[in-house]
Amino acid sequence: MPQSLSLRRSSAARTERAASPAGWIGAVALHAGIIAATLFTWSHSNLDIADQSPPVVPVDLVTIGAKTNIAPMVKVQPKEPPKEDVQPPVPEQAQPAPTPTPQQKEESAPPPEAAPSAEPILKKPPPVAPKTKPQQEQKKDKFNLDAISALLDKRAPAASSSPNAKVGNRTIKGIGQQNAMVMDLIDTIRNKMLQCWTPPVGAPNAQDLIVDYDLFLNIDGTIAQPPQLVGNSATATSPYARAAQEAARRAIYVCQPYKLPPERYNDWKEINPFRFDPRAMMGQ
């Protein structure tokens, strides 16, 4: 800092030394000419500056991230009533998910070299070998990742539905409090996760499969330390919950490094909770 100041001062001194009396006179004359030109015009009648100026409108200045990705909001189409004459009974509400006390738990990694466990010995030989070979006809998978709901239900889509509109399912939860300034960071991470995270879509009880991690990142976007489970997911121990936790963990690793602006490192060096919520993908 002092070095740059001294550089600027010496350059100004050189400019002063270079100025001559003739230059001074020229500059004064030029300024006087400009002022005079603003005072004298050929016609004064058309000057009505005050009347033509637009009224002052107060504005609120709102700072938001450079990029947002809010889904368009559309009206939800009311569902068609069943065509049958008999009306279905109102189903009872599903019981609420248990809410265990949030308790942080350290995830302890098992020793990498656990001895393999002995398994029971098989008893019987399989049935006789085939005489006819199965036909080798296979059908390739058809994944249409842009239409998850269509994959979940193969009925023909309703003709009245808007083709590219969807209800904003992320209801503005992220906006407000801290998140207006970091929407672009959140969008960047979410968009990246779109390619890395495979939600556990076939498992039952999707609400039990929400996973929260606490993740610390290095400034180059790599993972600084293994992500730690937090919140309710830290205490979930069912095989499905463990599979969901590991799927999210794999996604966190596969997606690194996260390309985020280093000058805003303080905004993203810790992500907590880093939540993986499969419910929207499971139609639940």
Partner: protein
Amino acid sequence: MKKFALALSAMLGLLFATPSFAALQVNVNQGNVQPLPIAIPDFIGDPAGANIAKVVSADLERSGLFRPLNPKSFVDQIKSVNVEPNYANWRVINAQGLVAGQAQMQSDGRLRVDFRLWDVYGGQQMLGQQFFTQPENWRRIAHLISDAIYERITGEKGYFDTRIVFIAESGPATNRKKRLAIMDEDGANPIFLTNGSYMVLTPRFNPTAQMIAYMSYVQAKPRVYLFDIDSGRQDVLGNFPNMTFSPRFSPDGNKIAMTLESGGNSDIYVMDLRTRSMTRLTFDPAIDTAPSFSPDGRQIAFESDRGGSQQIYVMNADGSNVHRISYGGGKNGTPVWSPRGDLIAFTKQGGGFHIGVMHPDGSGERILSNGWEDEGPTWAPNGRVLMYTRTLQGGRGSQIWSVDITGRNERRVLTPGAASDPAWSPLIQ
């Protein structure tokens, strides 16, 4: 002056310092459902190891949840199953899982197979197991390994060490032979259980044993029979004057619910297999058939046209509290309760025949299959996959297809020739 500069810089520092205490909150609710890339090199040691790795690879690929990587892309090889792999060498080919195994012939003539599943990105072992068996059992070892990997990754039991019983069809349409046949889940080892001299329909597996109930037209009289796969012995189930059909075992395997037709009226009965005593459950003059127990044995789903069209109803196992659950339009029949209990699969008729699922209260109905005429669903023992009969348009025969309950991974099941009416076995004990 110096003090002023210091004070000024301190004030500027306070103004521009960024508060760094709040962690970023990110809620990810959209992903990309794609199979897990997994590397399965040939197991080292005995030549059987290469075959085992290939069967494991095929099993996992068939599930639609795994994508075994092409071995040609591997830049590293397994030298010992007991040494931690160099994860970086497997990360460069984007493998997220690595299966390393070895097969060794023992001095007593048995085959020993070890394998480990490694988490390539997490850098840790996820699973390690060891098997001893007769060498000719190598396919079962492969299926058991597939089941273990599947369970470790998805959280639910596998279904590769299972068998499918089905109706093998042969001959011209005017003189179609329908024989009871059985094969491994991957289509290997198909054998015929009956000789085709009489027609066989609707086989159903006992969920606890290798036993099948089915309907057969012996002496032109349709009746329910029991077939013990291990002994090959078959018995008629009760000697009723009228036809019995549509059998289904209870979850404990001790009872069979079935339909008994009498005087043009079909009703549902349940038979205790130990005492052979029958209890009537429905008394409606309409057709009540296709019973299926809930996995806890307390309820039975069935189809009935008592409301004017064929629909799905649920009642308690004693016949009380009958209520309709299908309201999604069209006709709905052949309900089959998932072993997991969360869904009922069924056949929907209306614009073709399709396989669908709904919750036991009738909510959340979804259609899963895409065929022209799909019917008769059967569940994998883990409640994750369905098989069903697909009849091809234009009298081109029938095939067996499978689909995941998410509607993904719809594919044909390999059978020797035309096949229908699949029934999925429980896991082999």
